[in-house]
Amino acid sequence: MTDTPLVQMRGITKRFGGVTALSDVDLEARAGEVLAIVGDNGAGKSTLIKVLTGVYQPTAGEMFLDGSKVSFSSHADAIELGIDAVYQTLALADHLTPAANMFLGNELTKSILGFPILDNKKMKSETERVLMERLGVQLKSLDAPTESLSGGQRQAVAIARAVYHEGLRVLVMDEPTAALGPQETARTLKLIKALKAQGLAVILISHSLDDVFEVSDRVHVQRRGKRVGVVKTADSTTQEVLGLIVGAEEVPA
């Protein structure tokens, strides 16, 4: 873990009409660490990561990736440079197989008489490989539709889709454990740790402080569109973070 941040956001402000969702927010994430973003509803967590992933364009402020300035005009730009997100809804097409979902919008093809034909066999074997090698997950059947999988397995498929991109360096996860039971949650946290060990910068948005304290290295606290503090997880307590979230405590950033 080096001290130069992989990703850096400086002075990010985002207004929607007269509403200021983010005002002058800084954020740093390093390779091989998990940065948790916590905060109450409407604190600007989602807006912040949407700016980071290119879904929204900031009203003011700058972003740096590896020290060089970047700006995204769309989500595709961000993916191109190695920043991707796994949404809470997972964005999976339930009727398709896991392999079809993993390559959705980015299918592997072979050419027959000059026509591109989907290479379903290759996509299936690649899915099996990525799930096993990167996430340590093995599905019982890769031919069943995705809707037949458990919550944690669906999550793994969604994450596999993001990490399949070789250039992926920053993975944003929006509330990955919100809809999962305790066992599935533990599995998902294990996935996050595996990704961190592979040198990715993982940005985790969560309401569950238990999960945050289990996996994160640092916690970034948002309140009313502002960053009110960043604490090292190892040196902090749930009480302190909770205090920052509700505004009972102030810590210099």
Partner: protein, 372 residues
């Protein structure tokens, strides 16, 4: 391995094959029934040819409709597209002396353009597909009536009648080959192409499709264009089959095709597609209608039978896809629940009122005054 498979309940193991089992069971039922009642007339070669000829007409449309319905869409304008492209082709041949070899592709392209109009109306103007295509159905039918003015255009070159009812000696009719070819093409398109993959993704989860960078609107338009071209092909085949075309041709295409696709297990709620099911659905409807004819049942009962088959098969799919049947306890339990009781009383009230009205009408009735 074997024991593991057997642990799953029967319905779960059957689930991937539901689409094909439903129509297959009904086809089998028709075969057995007709085998017992009218084996000689039903299983004659000429009759089987008739069934196939009828089914062939619907195969291209059922193939395309599978894509449209899988994307959570519907197209209610295909009958009119078939009639209008058929009429325009007939005019090109009869009035303007176009070669039939160029007029047929023109007709199919015209259908594709009408499909394009449908697609653009739905995706660009955000008119719901049901209303949009229903309104365009009126427009296309109106144009056909304006053009043909009640004329029947008949007697076309051999090439066209070959497409519609040609027969390869000792083998199946040419339209059947065309129909099966379009179904096979549709199957490949559905499982092996970007278009097919995105069709399922869009029907399954439109937001996810959008998020992964799929152009949802463009692929929706593609489906309607395919539908328009397939409907026009059916119009060409119909013209050739009858060796005649008029503006009021093909009135029942819409529901017949949608019925065949839905009976085949393609879900109206999107995402679940079955090309083989659509093929079986087309065959089933044609076999059923032919069976009614063979049994000399009045023509008008066909519509009753088609409706009954559609309702029962859709209800069957819904029931089979319901995962949790614990505590449902069958029909009697449903009837005795408080809500079921209220429904029973409400139904009884309606039927009771109807009986009372009928009784009053019967008691006060005078002499019959036949209108004709």
């Amino acid at each position: 391995m074997n024991t593991q498979v057997n642990q799953k309940p029967l319905t779960e193991r059957l689930e991937p094959y539901i689409a094909i089992i439903g129509p297959m069971v009904m086809i089998l039922a028709i075969l057995v029934f007709m085998g017992l009642v009218e084996p000689v007339r039903y299983f004659r070669t000429t009759n089987i040819n008739l069934i196939l000829l009828d089914a062939a007409l619907y195969m291209p449309m059922a193939m395309a409709m599978t894509f449209v319905i899988t994307q959570r869409g519907i197209d209610l304008s295909i009958g009119s597209i078939a009639a209008l492209s058929g009429i325009m082709m007939a005019f090109l041949i009869k009035q303007y002396g176009f070669s039939v070899y160029i007029a047929v592709p023109i007709a199919i392209m015209l259908g594709a353009v009408m499909g394009l109009i449908n697609g653009l109306i739905i995706t660009r103007f955000k008119v719901p597909d049901l209303i949009g295509t229903l309104a365009m159905d009126l427009v296309y039918r109106g144009f056909a009536l304006v053009l043909a003015k009640g004329l029947v255009l008949a007697r076309f070159p051999d090439f066209l009648t070959d497409i519609g009812r040609g027969q390869i000696p000792g083998f199946v009719p040419i339209p059947v080959l065309i129909g099966i070819a379009t179904m096979i093409g549709g199957y490949v398109l559905l499982t092996r192409s970007y278009f097919g993959r995105y069709t399922i993704a869009i029907g399954s989860n439109p937001e996810a499709a959008e998020l992964t960078g799929i152009s949802v609107n463009r692929h929706k338009v593609f489906a309607y264009v395919l539908m328009g071209a397939a409907a026009a092909l059916a119009g060409v085949m119909l013209t050739g089959k009858l060796n005649a075309i008029q503006a009021t041709s093909a009135p029942y295409f819409n529901l017949h095709v949608i019925a065949a696709v839905v009976v085949g297990g393609t879900s109206l709620f999107g995402g679940r597609a079955s090309m083989i099911g659509s093929f079986a659905g087309v065959l089933l409807l044609s076999m059923m209608i032919n069976a009614l004819v063979t049994l000399r049942i009045e023509f008008f009962w066909q519509s009753v039978a088609s409706g009954a088959v559609i309702v029962s098969s859709v209800a069957l799919y819904t029931w089979m896809q319901k995962k949790d049947r614990d505590g449902a306890g069958g029909i009697m339990a449903a009837l005795s629940s408080p809500d079921g009781q209220k429904m029973v009383r409400f139904s009884a009230l309606l039927i009771g009122l109807l009986i009372v009205l009928l009784a009053i009408g019967g008691l006060t009735a005078g002499d019959a005054k036949p209108s004709g």
